[in-house]
Each structure stands twice: as C-alpha cells, then as structure tokens.
Amino acid sequence: MLARVLLRTGVFLAGVFVASIVIFTVLRVLPGDPAQVALGVDATPEGLAQARAEFGTDRPLPTQYLSWAEGLLHGDFGRSYLSRSAIGPQIADRLQVTGWLVASSIVVALLLAVPLATFAAMWHRTGRGALLAGLSQVGVAVPAFIAGVLLVDLFAVRLRWLPSGGWVAPDKDPAGFIRRLILPVLSLGLIQGAVLSRYIRSAVLDVLDQDYLRTARAKGLRPYQAMVRHGLRNVGIPVVTVLGLQVASLLVSGIVVERVFVIPGLGSLLLDSVANRDLLVLQDVVMVLVFAVLTINFLVDVAYAALDPRLRRSS
C-alpha cells in the first residue's frame, strides 16, 4: 500500500512538472507581446520597454520559466500584465466559485445516477429498464450548455422561479447563493448524471453477473439487499475511476456553463484571459486546472486502493 502510494505520488509529481513545462512552452510561442497588449494601441517604444522590464518578459525563456515555477511553488502566481493585480488571490476566489459548482454538480449527478443506474441495470430486460437507459442516452446527447440555455429560458425568464445567473458568496446571502446555484448545477449535474448512470449501469450489470452476488442470494438475501450489501462497494471500484474523469470533464463543461450563467469562476477567468491575451493569467489558470485534474487522478488511484482490499497488500 505504502509503496504503491509512494510510486503514485512520484508519477503525480512528475506529471505536474511535465505539464508545467508543456503549458509554459505552448503559451510562450504566443505571437504578440504582452507589453503591447497591456499598453494598447500606439504605445510608445519606451513604454513598451519599461513594461517588458516590469513584466520580466525581456529575460530569456528558461529564466522566465524558473521564476514562474518557483513562484508557483511558493503560492505566488505573479501579477497580471493587464490588470497589474496579483493573480493568486483572484484564482483563489474563482477556484472557490468553481469548486462549489463542481462539487454540487457531482453530488447531484451521483444522487441522480446511482438509483437510476441501479434500477436500469436490475430491470435491464424490462420496458422500464429500457426507458431509463433511453432517458440517460438522451441526457448524454444534450450538451450541458444547451441544457443551461433552455433551463434559464424556462425557469428564470418564463416562470420567474429562479435567477438567470450571477453569483453571491454563500456567507453573504445563503438563500441567494442556493437560488443562483440551482440552475447551473442542474444543467451540469443532469448531464453528468446521465453520463455517469451509463457507466454505473454497466458496472452494476457486471456485478450482477458475479458469483458472490449469487452466494449472497443463496444465503437468503433479496436481490435489492444483495445488491446494496455486496454489490455497491464493488460497483464503486470502476465507478470511482469514471468519477475522476467526470470531475475533470465537469471542470471543463463548467467553463461553458459559467459563461451561460455569468458565474465568475475559473472558466470565465480562462475565457477572459484568452480574449484579452492576458498571458500570465491564462498560464496560471491552465496550470491550476491541469493540476486539479492530475490531483483528482492521483486521488482516484489512492481511493481505488482504499476501496479494493486486493490492492492494499499486494506490493
């Protein structure tokens, strides 16, 4: 177990390192000078030189990489070339927003997917099962942002039940926070729930075929009891893997959904920094997102071992 975790940690750290180099390299071939972008049209050559010195973009690339990476290690994300404000606190704010969004969506997706998939699998030869499987297929086919656009039109604009978007911090206005969270979380959670339910359904079907489930029923457990007591944990093992991938894909569909619902999360920051060519912000946001995905994969690996006793003492 320990050796496995150590090995995985090593792979994870190496991944983060390589990713940082890839991100830096790709984004530094950007045509266009951050100083030029920051100063706008007809900036003076002296102004540009001054800005380049201020940003440090006049230094050789390896030096720039090292100082960037060193900053990151200390939690210093640098200052935006455009807004001149520190990027770290901004990312922290945005990360919190995106964190709420993604975490709530995962919860909704699971609440939806687990029962849906379990029933769909247990009824899989019946009409009800086919209906559930069909519903999840349709759910998968509708992109989250389209769901978002339609949900806003129905629940916010036509029915006036919920706000169309925006964001308030949970500590400032808890009710407003929840009301604003509902529609974006639904548009992400419903779709991801549909995707997840298909994986869970096939994991459940796999487990249903397993001998130990027959053993459990031979003991006298009813099918549902057998599934709950003996199946779920085993279903969990493949599902955790998928869930890891889902969180990654939620982070990404979140970008589009944040745009639909005007939510100031990491996604909006990413898109703004692309449009503005706010290079360092873009670099930092991409790094944070990639780091998040890598961390999730790493945690999934560790969780895998926790769920599956076979992996614990194997090495």
């Binding site: 991944g15 990713a19 998968v140 992109p143 990404v252 990413l270």
Partner: protein
C-alpha cells in the same frame, strides 16, 4: 447463434445516416443559399416558403442546418481521425515494444488526459487564434488517449495469445504480426471508438462555437446558429431549438451507433 442488431443500433444508424445524407444533399441542393442575407425576410416564422423560418439576417434555417451538418461532419471526422490515426498506432507500438516504451507512452497518455479538449482549444486559440482548425486539432488530441488505451489493450490481448507467440518464434516480425493479427482484432473496437469520439467532437465543436472559439461566420455551423440566436430565445425560441435539436439528435445517433456496434463486436459486453 446469429446476433441481431439491437433497436438502439438501428435507431443510431438511421440518425447518423440522416446526418450524412443531409450533408451530401447540401452539396447539390438546399432550399435557399444558406449564406445569402435577405434582410427583408428576417425572422420569418416557419411556413410554406421557409419550412423552419429564417434567422435575423433572413437566411433560411433549413438550408443553414443542412450546410451546418457538413461542418459538424468535418469537425467530427477530422477530430476523431486525428485521435484514431495517431492514437491507435501509439497504443499498438506501446504494447508491442519494450516495457519502458510502454510505460513512457502510457504516462504521456495519462498526462494528455489531464488536458481536456476545451482547455487545449482555449490554449490553441490563444496562440493561433480561434477557428475551426485549432478546434479540430484540440478535440482530436483530447480523444487520442482513448484510442491509444484501446489499441494497447486490444493488442495486449492478441500478443499474449499462442498463435502470435508462435509467429514471433517462427521469426515473423512485429510489423507482420501487427498487420496479420492485431489489426483485425482491434479494428472493430477502433470503429466503435471513432463513433463515440465523433459524438464528443460534435458536442465540443458546438461548445467552442458557442464560446466564439470555434467555427467563424459566415460558415454555417450548428453551434454558431445556436450562439447567434440565443439572445432571441424569448422573441424566436424556435431558432434556438432547431440547432439544439440537430446537435442532440446527431450525438444521440452517434452514441447509439457506437454502443450498438460495441455490443455487436464484443459479445462479452452485450447488455440487451
């Protein structure tokens, strides 16, 4: 026993065939020129002349949907093509090559997984500017790992079988083996993956166009139609609904086709 195609497979195949047919038809016939602006005819409701109405520039919606299906197919084909053409050989080589190569390739693969399509697209858009090209490359790269993984697993399965071992012992090279044994074994799975990646690409293209990082006007694309008309959702909700429905049906078709084919190719996974 002969395996019958599942209803899902049939529905999927019909939907996909419908999109392909529409795209092909649009080369020879559309009701109107899809890009011709007729300001006098703007925002018409569905009717005898314009079956699904016109948009705010007076362009015929049916014609735009038809020509838009070409964009959808192009993006899907190129993106899943990039994934398949690069990913499959990488997976095969990794599994047939030495262990260190396999390890390295798979680590690289995992790393690529950490760069989801949209993130890659945003990075490429920042570097090369937004457009269909960078979008397709980004989506393609993001589907690559799934192909590599699949090809590797499929190859492993074959390489460890006795007949391939025998062939290796008999002095046949890896290349011969790959062609003779590996490809037939993984071809079906790769086909399935192409269908599923295609669906992912269609969704991604729509999302990118929605964000303004995808297909640029005046090329009709379903994602763009959606973005163009969404501010009119209260005035002309149908204009949003048509492209949304087109995207959803195409993705549904591709997913059903992919799942159905997988059931057909791989009886172990059959679920119906």
């Amino acid at each position: 026993m002969t395996r019958r195609p599942s209803p899902g497979l049939i529905v999927g195949a019909v939907l996909v065939a419908g999109v392909v047919f529409t795209a092909l038809l649009s080369f020879v016939w559309t009701p109107y020129d899809a890009t011709e602006v007729q300001v006098a005819d703007r925002l018409l409701s569905p009717g005898a002349h314009h079956w699904l109405g016109t948009d705010r520039l007076g362009r015929d919606v049916v014609s735009q949907l038809m020509v838009g299906s070409r964009t959808t197919l192009t993006v899907g084909l190129v993106a899943s093509g990039i994934g398949a053409v690069l990913g499959t050989p990488i997976g095969v080589l990794a599994s047939m090559g030495p262990r260190w190569l396999d390890r390295t390739v798979m680590l690289g693969n995992d790393l690529l997984l950490a760069f989801p399509g949209l993130l890659l697209a945003a990075m490429l858009a920042a570097v090369y500017g937004a457009g269909t090209g960078p979008a397709m490359v980004a989506i393609g790269l993001s589907t690559l790992p799934s192909f590599a993984r699949l090809a590797r697993a499929g190859t492993m399965q074959v390489v460890t079988t006795d007949y391939v071992r025998a062939a290796l012992v008999a002095g046949r090279g890896s290349w011969w083996n790959a062609r003779r044994h590996v490809w037939p074994n993984i071809a079906g799975l790769v086909t399935v993956q192409i269908s599923l990646s295609f669906a992912i690409a269609v969704v991604a293209e729509a999302g990118l166009s929605y964000l303004g990082l995808g297909t640029a006007p005046p090329t009709p694309s379903w994602g763009r139609m959606l973005q163009d008309s969404q501010e009119l959702i209260s005035a002309a909700p149908l204009l949003v609904l048509w492209p949304a429905a087109a995207i959803a049906l195409a993705v549904l078709g591709l997913n059903l086709l992919g799942d159905g084919l997988r059931d057909l190719f791989d009886p172990r996974l059959e679920r119906r």
